[in-house]
């Protein structure tokens, strides 16, 4: 089933906010070999000017991919998740993510293209904090390979 190009402009969320924890930041830092102690110790983070443990650069993807999943499972968009590969990713950080943050995510379908046997779906996920201030904008393009 091809992806539905008429789904451009749809938005999903915000759903329940994501609570950023020190444990998850450390786990993610270990997984991407981000060595800084500022990802692991409150004291080290404070010494670098952060109020608490700071997340690695791509941590926002943990929250964004949860939000993007609403797009992938929407039957009216028509993405076959088993045939998805990641094509592009971009993070624009308005401020770092810090342990204790409660982050809300709203995902927008910005673009859908079909050419050859490939469809691409571009989403933009806006992450905001408890005050509604912007934290990160995450732009992701998935390529869906149609069945040959």
């Amino acid at each position: 089933m091809p992806v539905n190009t008429e789904a451009v402009g749809r938005a999903y969320g915000p759903h329940e906010p994501y609570e950023v924890t020190r444990v998850k930041i450390r786990e993610f830092a270990d997984a991407v070999d981000a060595y800084s102690f500022a990802h692991r110790s409150e004291e080290a983070a404070r010494a670098e000017g952060f109020p608490d443990v700071v997340a690695p650069t791509t941590f926002a993807v943990v929250i964004a991919q949860q939000a993007e999943f609403h797009v992938v499972v929407d039957p009216e968009v028509g993405v076959d998740f088993s045939r998805v590969v990641h094509a592009d990713e971009r993070f624009a950080h308005h401020r770092p993510i810090i342990a204790g943050d409660l982050i809300s995510a709203t995902v927008h379908i910005d673009d859908i293209k079909q050419r050859g046997g490939i469809s691409t779906v571009t989403t933009r996920t806006e992450l905001t904090d408890e005050d509604g201030s912007p934290v990160s904008t995450v732009i992701s393009t998935l390529a869906v390979r149609e069945e040959a």
Partner: protein, 143 residues
């Protein structure tokens, strides 16, 4: 970002290598990243599944590669100072069931913006002599 830990803008030159690292991705790395990120697509841990959807076998998460590349830049830039990061995933990295895929990451200054006091860092990620990421760029806030 925090002003305290920013790298110094003065003295940076276009073309200068600011950080480099060789990393080895194993199935352990992929499982660890799946758990940490919540990305449980079976193409990253199940060979039979990966082959059934036309891949050569299990491949690394693109975001594992991007995240690790960011960590290499961050080692120089300091946590919280990469304000923008982008890439295109040009080629997958197949990761064998046993052994490791060895990946070389080099971060060099691509452009300098004196007005904004930012450096654009271009990141080269190579596996078996081929570029894995295309247009991989980090914008770093300097002091």
């Amino acid at each position: 970002m925090s002003a305290e830990n920013r790298p110094s803008f003065a003295g940076l030159e276009v073309g200068q290598v600011v950080a480099e690292r060789e990393v080895a991705f194993s199935r352990d790395s992929l499982v660890r990243y799946a758990g940490a990120s919540g990305d449980f697509n079976p193409i990253h841990y199940n060979d039979a599944f990966a082959e059934s959807v036309g891949l050569p076998g299990v491949i690394a998460h693109g975001m594992l590669t991007m995240g690790t590349a960011a960590s290499v830049v961050e080692e120089w830039a300091g946590p919280g100072n990469i304000v923008d990061l982008q890439t295109r995933f040009a080629r997958p990295i197949p990761v064998p069931a046993m052994g490791e895929a060895e990946v070389a990451i080099t971060a060099k200054v691509g452009a300098l913006d004196a007005e904004a006091t930012t450096a654009r860092i271009d990141i080269l990620v190579e596996f078996e002599g081929q570029k894995i990421l295309a247009k991989a760029q980090a914008v770093v806030a300097c002091a």
